[in-house]
Amino acid sequence: MIFLTVGTYPLPFERLVKAVDIAITKRLIEEEVFAQIGLSCYRPQNMGYVEMLHKEDFDSYFQKASAVISHAGMGTIKMALDNKKSLLVMPRLQEYGEVVNDHQVATAKRFEELGHILVAYSEEELPEKLQQLKSFSPRPRQSQPRAVADRIAKFLSQITAEKQVE
């Protein structure tokens, strides 16, 4: 099963829902697709969908999916990295009223460069990227939360020392 989500962002993202629906009719996706379509008015013809899933159900679909298609929201990207899921994103664009600015393009580009995700910057790019998604293995993300926590700890010991001098 492929899980399609447009995130919880409070604006519709019909372009992605529609493009994936069309891709199914063209047999570019062979697997079953289930979608969280958000505020989209477009009703998919070729996949199961709901407007919004509860967090637990969302997590369960996410875990079960063989791959995920979504908007380029940081929350979804983080989840894919944490769960080592293959993720194909299409950034929401300001010009279509899908988002208030084009920060999703920058997010998508950076994580694409790092080999963590695939990106379709438009509907036209989707077929090619869907093909790549079948064999895509995301590069695991190396993060350093411990180093950040330690840097803050060092700062805290400095101000603790200052306080004790007072």
């Binding site: 990295l81 920058a106 993060s143 306080k163």
Partner: protein
């Protein structure tokens, strides 16, 4: 004061984040943190639904959401924050943002607290708006992208949380 008492003297830490991605980053950070926060730390967030998870750790204040398009709401969050800061008097605020927590930082600064601002991983090309607002006030400003730390004397890259 004898030595044992002196060792006991800890700083009061306020830890906070807005609901959503900012909170995810904060929780990941807390998961890996060993020496802080401690029993006398307290927490600030923006939505009641998220407070539950934090209440297991300690005292939690919910200040509500605000954004730059709603100056009145923002002002209300600032007033609430100020009340909390006067009451709790933290020595330091540690936050992953966003604007509501910037209001907490401003209030904390007014009562003389230090500020640790960790700009969200989502800000790739430049700091968040609230991050830019906090630049002159933060005592430790951390970015999660090394490129963004270049050109700022008071911005550091210590790693990425996500």
């Amino acid at each position: 004061m004898d030595l044992s008492e002196k060792r006991e003297k800890t700083i009061r830490i306020c830890v906070g984040a807005s609901a959503g991605g900012h909170m995810n980053e904060l929780l990941k950070l807390l998961e890996k943190s060993q020496s802080w926060p401690h029993h006398s730390s307290f927490y600030v967030t923006t939505m009641e639904t998220l407070a539950g998870k934090l209440r297991q750790k300690g005292l939690v204040y919910v200040i509500g959401e605000c954004n730059r398009r709603h100056p009145l709401k923002t002002l209300r969050v600032l007033m609430r924050s100020l009340k909390i800061m006067i009451k709790e008097h933290p020595d330091v605020v540690i936050t992953t943002g966003s604007l509501p927590l910037a209001m907490v930082c401003l209030s904390a600064k007014l009562i003389g607290a230090k500020i640790v601002w960790i700009d969200s991983i989502a800000n790739i090309e430049r700091f968040s708006l609230s991050g830019r607002m906090m630049l002159p006030f933060a005592d430790l400003f951390l970015t999660q992208w090394p490129e963004l730390a270049e050109g700022y004397r008071n911005v550091e890259y210590a790693g990425a949380i996500i």
